[in-house]
């Protein structure tokens, strides 16, 4: 086993060179590079944590804003609904009034027309009486040769019209 058989001649060289190269590795790698590597990792994990917390904050903010927007939206909707119903009521009232006015006008017109019709009928009736009186005088004069006075004829016509 060379480890034992060569021990006496080589142990000093082994120890010295191991110390030399281990020390070089320790100071360059362990002392020089490892802290930098770990520093980079720390900075990265810190940045990741920061980013995550920033994202959390942003999400919370967004949630809050959405909440506010929703509330505002609901309010607006309610207000719009109120406006619509108000306008509807107003319009309904207006049209009712209009309809009522139109109704009144129509009623008046109807009444007038009725009156006119009644008047025309009276006129027509009087005309008929006149015509009938004339005709009666004429017929009596022709058939009996008696001249009937106009008032007598008229009363007779009236009587028979009333009966007829």
């Amino acid at each position: 086993m060379p480890q034992i058989s060569q021990l006496a001649e080589t142990f000093s060289s082994q120890i010295v060179w191991l110390l030399v190269f281990f020390a070089i590795t320790y100071f360059i790698v362990g002392r020089g590079m490892v802290p930098r590597v770990m520093d980079t990792m720390d900075r990265r994990s810190k940045q990741i944590a920061d980013d995550i917390s920033a994202a959390h904050a942003a999400r919370e903010q967004a949630d809050k804003e959405e909440e506010a927007w929703r509330a505002r939206e609901n309010e607006n909707r309610a207000r719009a609904q109120a406006l619509i119903s108000e306008a509807k009521a107003e319009a309904a009232a207006k049209s009712e009034k209009k309809i009522a006015a139109a109704q009144k006008r129509l009623d008046k017109k109807l009444e007038e027309a009725d009156e006119r019709i009644a008047a025309s009928r009276n006129d027509a009736l009087e005309e008929i009486e006149t015509v009938a009186t004339d005709a009666t005088q004429d017929i009596v004069a022709r058939l009996a040769g008696i001249k009937v006075a106009k008032p007598a004829a008229k009363s007779a016509v009236k009587e028979s019209l009333a009966n007829g």
Binding site: Q3, S12, S13, L18, F22, V29, R43
Partner: protein, 254 residues
């Protein structure tokens, strides 16, 4: 055993520290330590681009550092952060040493040397870890550090006995730490070598022996190669983990 032999590459004669006779020849072992150092530096360097969106190399390095970070934080706690450079260096140095020693470069005529299969090397690493434990322990707690040997809730009449047992187990730590890594690496390499020799000698003994011996050995080698890659990682992890746990004893004292 040839693969564990240390061969001086240069500086065999005159590389002595003063007149002490301590030879520090630059050997193949030292060469592979150097290669490990260079590869580790090059690898970790790719993780230091400090990009917010990391590339694949940066992710690889970062996952290793965060792995060690978790290990240290879970075994030592928040004040363990200052030991991360040491534990990370320990982990990655052993890991790359193990993995580079497994490279099949023998095909190209270059023989990789696994310096973690030498207990001189693992022993030094274990002693460093153990020294850190002692230094931190006495620095932070002074002589109260000795209460480590008397766990909480020990009956007072049992305390001397328990203290002796605890002291022995404490002192065994560097040895177990060093021997575990050394034995695991060496056993794996020897196993692969033995199986490889089966493949070769079975093949040389003829077609029949080749089919019976070489083929199953080859298949087993492939499986064990995968196992060795796993062991390379696990042993590096165990070394780092135990170091962190021992430092925790010194840092938090129960």
């Amino acid at each position: 055993m040839y693969q564990f032999t240390i061969k001086p590459l240069f500086g065999t004669e005159e590389w002595e520290l003063g007149s002490t006779g301590v030879n520090i020849a630059f050997t193949n072992s030292a060469l592979w330590m150097m290669i490990t150092t260079i590869v580790v530096i090059a690898f970790v360097q790719m993780g230091t681009k400090q990009q917010m969106i990391p590339g694949r190399w940066q992710v690889a390095v970062e996952s290793l550092t965060s792995f060690i970070d978790n290990l240290v934080q879970s075994s030592i706690g928040a004040q363990g952060r200052k030991y991360i450079p040491y534990v990370f260096t320990l982990f990655i140095f052993i890991l790359f040493g193990n993995l580079l020693g497994l490279l099949p470069l023998g095909v190209l005529g270059v023989h990789p040397f696994t310096f973690t299969s030498h207990f001189t090397v693992t022993g030094v690493l274990a002693v460093i870890s153990f020294s850190i434990v002692l230094l931190v322990g006495f620095w932070k707690h002074g002589f109260k550090f000795f209460t480590l040997f008397v766990p909480h809730g020990t009956p007072i009449f049992m305390a001397p006995l328990i203290a002796v047992v605890e002291f022995i187990s404490f002192m065994v730590r560097p040895f177990s730490l060093a021997l575990r890594l050394f034995v695991a690496m060496m056993a794996g390499h020897i196993l692969l070598e033995v199986l490889a020799s089966f493949v070769v000698s079975g093949g040389l003994a003829g077609l029949g022996f080749g089919a019976i011996v070489s083929l199953p050995s080859m298949l087993l080698m492939i499986v064990i190669c995968a196992l060795e890659l796993l062991v390379a990682g696990i042993q590096a992890y165990v070394f780092a983990l135990l170091t962190a746990l021992y430092i925790n004893d010194a840092e938090n004292l129960h």
